[in-house]
Each structure stands twice: as C-alpha cells, then as structure tokens.
C-alpha cells in the first residue's frame, strides 16, 4: 500500500495498551518535551511524528452499530525521509529511552532492553498507511529547513533595502547573497 510518497516514507504502528497501565502511559506521554526538544525531533529526517492514545472508538449516533475496542490502543505515526529500516535504526538508537518507556506499556512488548527488540516489536505491529499525503514528496526535511532560512533571509533583505536605488540595491544583493558582477 501507500507507505511511500516520493522519497518520503510513512510508518504506522498500532499497539494494544495494558488497560491497567493506561494512566501511566498518558502521564509518560504528557511529560515528553515538545517541539525541538521532543525525542521525536532527534531523528532529524522526521517531517511529522506523533503518539495518539485511542481510548475508545467514537460513537457517532444516527443508528450505527457501536464498535468497542477490547483494550485501548496506542497509535504511532511518523513521516520521514528515506527508507523505513534507516529510520527505525535511528529512532531505536537516538530515542531508545523514551521509546522503551512508552511502548513498555503495551501488550506483547519484549522484556529485554536491546534496540533490536524494539525494532522487531514495531515491525510486528506495523500497519499499512493506506493514504499517505506528502506536501513535498521529493524534498527532505533538511532541504525544507534551508529553504525556509533562505526565505527568511530574503524577506529581511527586501524589507530593509526597498528604499535603495538600483545600483545600491544590486551591490547590497550581491553582498548578501553572492553572485558576480555581469
């Protein structure tokens, strides 16, 4: 199925949670640092990644048959650059402590503490990402960051130089962004 878009890969892992350990898992997730300090950000090829606790299925009414889960589930989704095995290798090396603390709340998680066991566990609970949309399928996180930095620099340049006459503007542009006189 659609686990890739361009050079990007999507990973979805669905794990049943020990019902009596649900609160502990929620506390563990809530205590994670956010943004650049998130353990998920340590893998620098990550576009988006998150853990979601699915406590119960939403009943939308309207005469549908209510579905119930046998246990709460933990959903992990991640979109990243490059192939799956490289990502799992990075995740298991760079964020092992947090990953272990989280998935050890789940049924069937191995007792041992080897990164290899974490990778095997995630692979065995992997589900196909049936619809993966990537806004920039051929662009890596590193390239996007570079582009944003250039845009920011260019935005600052144009706001500060709009009063310059053409020759001064050309000099200022070359000194800011390089390029040789024609």
């Amino acid at each position: 199925m659609a686990n890739t878009a361009g050079q990007a890969t999507a990973l979805s892992v669905l794990s049943p949670i020990h019902p009596e350990r649900l609160e502990s898992l929620e506390a563990t997730l809530a205590a994670l640092p956010l943004g650049e300090r998130s353990p998920l950000a340590r893998v620098a090829t990550t576009h988006f990644a998150r853990w979601v606790v699915i406590g119960q299925l939403v009943y939308e009414g309207g005469g549908q048959k209510p579905d119930t889960l046998g246990s709460p589930y933990l959903l992990f989704t991640s979109n990243f650059d490059g192939p799956l095995d490289e990502y799992l290798e990075d995740l298991s090396q760079l964020s092992f402590r947090e990953a272990h603390a989280i998935w050890s709340h789940c049924i069937g998680f191995p007792k041992g503490k080897a990164p290899r066991q974490l990778i095997d566990y995630l692979m065995s609970h992997r589900v196909d990402t049936t619809m993966f949309y990537s806004a920039y399928p051929r662009t890596t996180v590193a390239q996007i960051r570079e582009s944003l930095a250039l845009r920011r620099r260019f935005g600052e340049f144009v706001t500060r130089s709009q009063a310059l006459d053409p020759s001064a503007l050309m000099r200022a542009f070359r000194s800011a962004f390089g390029g040789s006189p024609s």
Partner: protein
C-alpha cells in the same frame, strides 16, 4: 435526534437575540457577574429569563435589550453537574486565558496582564445590555443590578464594560466596521446580501448552514454540531467569544505617516491595503484606486466580490485584514476552505474617539469589545485567529501576521503585492488584548432549565 434544516418561528423565540441579527443599538453595557451560591444564582436567572430578548423579528426596535451567557465556571457555579459540564468542548472548559499561546495573546496581551478579572476564572456570567439611549441603558442596567443585590452578596458584578457606537458604525482606527457577516440559512433574520454567503463555483453565493452558529441544527457537513448533553441544554445555544481589544490609534496614525513617507504612497491607500477596504467601507477588490462612497453605502454591492481574479493580490493584498479573516474563494476549492470557519461578529467600540490629527497618545483607553457567535470555538474563532490572522503559512506568506490585529513585535512585515511589491516594515503592535472569556449563550428554554436546577 434528527437535524432540523430550517429555523422555525419557534426556534426564533427560543434563540437569544443579537446572534442571527445584530441589534446595532448606539450604547451597550456588559456586566460580568460572579455567582457565589448556586441556589441564589438559579433564582436570579429564573427572574431574568422572561426579560431576555429573543430572535423574533421586531416591527419597531425595542428601547433596550438584555442577553446572558455563561462561562464554564459559571455553569459550574449554577450547580450544573460535573458529567454535564464534561460534555462541553475542551476549549470552552479551559477558557480563553488557557488558550493564550494558540491565540497569540502573548507579551503585552498575556493573560497575566489582563484587566478587570477577565480570564481569572472568577467571572461566571455576562449580561449584555443594549439600548437606544444612555438613559434607557442606565435604567435597564440598574434593574439588572438591583436583582443581583441582597442576601449576603452571593451575586456580584465584578466588572462593567460599557461600549458605544462611533458615527457611521466606524471603529477607532476610522473604518466602517461589521460589513462582512455570514448570510445564515434562516429566514426572517435580516436581508440577503450578495457576498455574505459562501462563494459557489464561478458565480453566485449560498447561505451558511444554521448549525455553524446554533447548536441543534444541521451544519455545513449536514450533521449536528458537537453539543453538550442533555440536548435541552445545547439546543439553540451558541458559543460566544468576548475580547477586549485596546487599539493604539495614535500609534496607527504615526505608523501610516511614517510608512507613507518611506514608500511614497498616500496614508489612505496604505490604510486601505492593510484592511482591504477604504475607510468608508468600499472594498479594494472592487475599487482599488479610490474609495467609492456609493458602493460603500450599498449593502448589495459592498460585499459582492471574490478574490479569484486577484490571486496575486494586486488589488487587495493577500495579507489584508478582511482577506485573511474571510478569504472567500482565495484558498481555492470554492467554498470548501471557508464555509466551516465563519463567525457572526457583534463587536462594539469602547472609549471616546481620538480627535482627528492627533498623533500623540492621550492615555485614554479605547478599542473594540470584539464579540462573535459560532457553533465551535476551536474550528471557527480559534482557527481564524491562529491560522488566518496570526500566521501566514496557509496564505504562502511565511510567518507574516495580520498588520492591524496581529501579535506584532516590531520585526514583522506586510507585503503589499504589486509591480513592484512594497513592504510595510517593521509592523507595530497596534492592538492589545486586555482580557477575554469564552461563553455559552444558551437558548431561552435552556436558560429556564438551568434556572430550575438539574
């Protein structure tokens, strides 16, 4: 429960006034009430219910009106059970102050600096009054306040927020305000004007579903919006945003003068580029070079535009205030990108106007009591505020924020598209949040239900 697709007369008698149709009275007062005892609070509400102005069309404008809405803390203070409270959406339960980072209420606008007890959890109800004259307003306010007195002071007014229209329904920066409003799919609630609904592919407009603004009615998805349980509490109710926004009018004038000098443009044109309308209300999209007073006054024409023919923003900039707040067809996919993010705005200015020509701050507080009605605080107000106004990503404007209401820190810019483009920079902080509350404005039946104890 099935979704009703129309709003019947019985609904209009049950829906509070000033939601579907604005009163537009000249003066208003907002009493923020603390309820220290559930029994006394319910008895007070029971006495007030029959006076609450509903949405029935009127032949003659009433001399004064009264409406009431509650914070989450206020519903708790009335004795609403925990399980019922928990059925409200999370953002309502958290309150506006807890959502400050999302809303851009940081720095000078941070809740720690808010005034009058707003955002502290100590405010339980807002009683909103409007009247045809200051005398009539005072009479009505006194009557409401008398009903709160007595006992051991369990009921108290903790904050009073007066407001008054400026000439021609202008706001303090000088623009005619409140022109763009959703055309709601509900007869008998006002005129049907071109441009107020949802743009249809190519031509024409369609009304926005009632359920985008009132619970218990089908929304744009054709289903009932999220509502508290039991149904009686939510039916014909509406979520309500109250924000006290201080406007730095002298700062706005200085900013325009400086930028106009730098760019060689007129102040009037720059102001129009920032807002998307000339001060008289005529839209840049239809009249890009000069104001058109005839169009400005004509409700059939002053909203009858879309942005599809101006994708580059040469007439109305992509980051202009009204284009951000309601992008119409500018985001593509016709109505699908906007129809779930509309607000009914019921703001009214507060404070005296700054006399023309003054560019030094006179130290007088003035601004807008921004109010808006909707079915979902997070999908409507919070989305518009955080994604369209206080960010530029969706509009391909990077991190640019709205020039007039954005959370500015003297580093931001606004691009005025054209050949060549011009840049307003650095943008000044012109609007500061002094406080705010998320409220729920129940239907009349629900008010009665609340007053009877549950």
């Amino acid at each position: 429960m099935t979704a009703s697709t129309t709003c019947a007369r019985t609904d209009l008698r049950d829906i509070q006034g000033n939601i579907l149709r604005g009163y537009r009275h000249p003066v208003a007062m907002h009493l923020f009430v603390r309820i220290g005892d559930a029994g006394r609070g319910r008895a007070w509400l029971g006495g007030l219910v029959d006076q609450v102005t509903n949405a029935e069309p009127w032949q003659a404008k009433p001399e004064s009106t009264v409406n009431i809405a509650f914070t989450a803390a206020g519903l708790g203070a009335l004795g609403v059970p925990e399980a019922t409270l928990a059925s409200f959406p999370a953002e309502f339960l958290q309150g506006m102050a807890a959502r400050a980072d999302l809303l851009g209420d940081t720095g000078a606008s941070a809740p720690g600096r808010w005034e009058d007890g707003l955002g502290t959890g100590g405010i339980h109800a807002m009683v909103a009054l409007q009247a045809r004259s200051p005398e009539l307003l005072n009479d009505r306010v006194r009557a409401v306040e008398r009903a709160l007195e007595g006992g051991n002071g369990e009921l108290a007014v903790v904050s009073r927020q007066p407001a008054a229209r400026l000439p021609e329904y202008r706001e303090h920066f000088g623009f005619v305000d409140g022109l763009g409003q959703p055309w709601v799919d509900c007869p008998d609630t006002g005129g049907v004007y071109n441009g107020q609904g949802t743009p249809q592919g190519g031509r024409g407009w369609k009304p926005v579903a009632l359920g985008e603004f009132l619970l218990g009615h089908a929304d744009e998805e054709g289903v009932l919006p999220d509502a508290p349980a039991p149904d009686v509490l939510g039916h014909n109710g509406s979520f309500h945003v109250f924000r006290k926004l201080r406007q730095d009018v002298a700062g706005f004038r200085r900013f325009l003068r400086q930028q106009a000098a730098t760019l060689g443009a007129t102040e009037d044109l720059l102001a129009a580029k920032i807002v998307g309308r000339w001060a008289d209300g005529s839209p840049l999209e239809l009249s890009p070079d000069r104001p058109d007073p005839g169009m400005a006054r004509d409700p059939d024409r002053n909203n009858d535009f879309r942005y599809g023919g101006d994708a580059a923003g040469h007439r109305c900039p992509i980051g202009a205030h009204i284009r951000r707040a309601n992008p119409r067809d500018a985001l593509g996919f016709d109505e699908q990108m906007v129809s779930r993010h509309r607000l009914i705005r019921r703001g009214i200015p507060y404070g005296p106007p700054l006399p023309d020509g003054i560019e030094d701050d006179d130290g007088v507080d003035r601004g807008l009591l921004f109010m808006a009605a909707m079915a979902s605080l997070t999908r409507q107000f919070e989305f518009v505020q955080s994604q369209w106004l206080n960010d530029g990503n969706i509009l391909s404007l990077g991190t640019d924020r709205d020039a007039i209401t954005g959370d500015q820190d003297r580093t931001g810019k606004m691009t005025v598209q054209g050949s060549p483009p011009q840049f307003l920079w650095p943008l000044e902080l012109l609007t500061v949040t002094l406080g705010g509350e998320y409220l729920f404005m129940p239907g009349i039946t629900a008010l009665r239900w609340l007053s009877q104890g549950v």
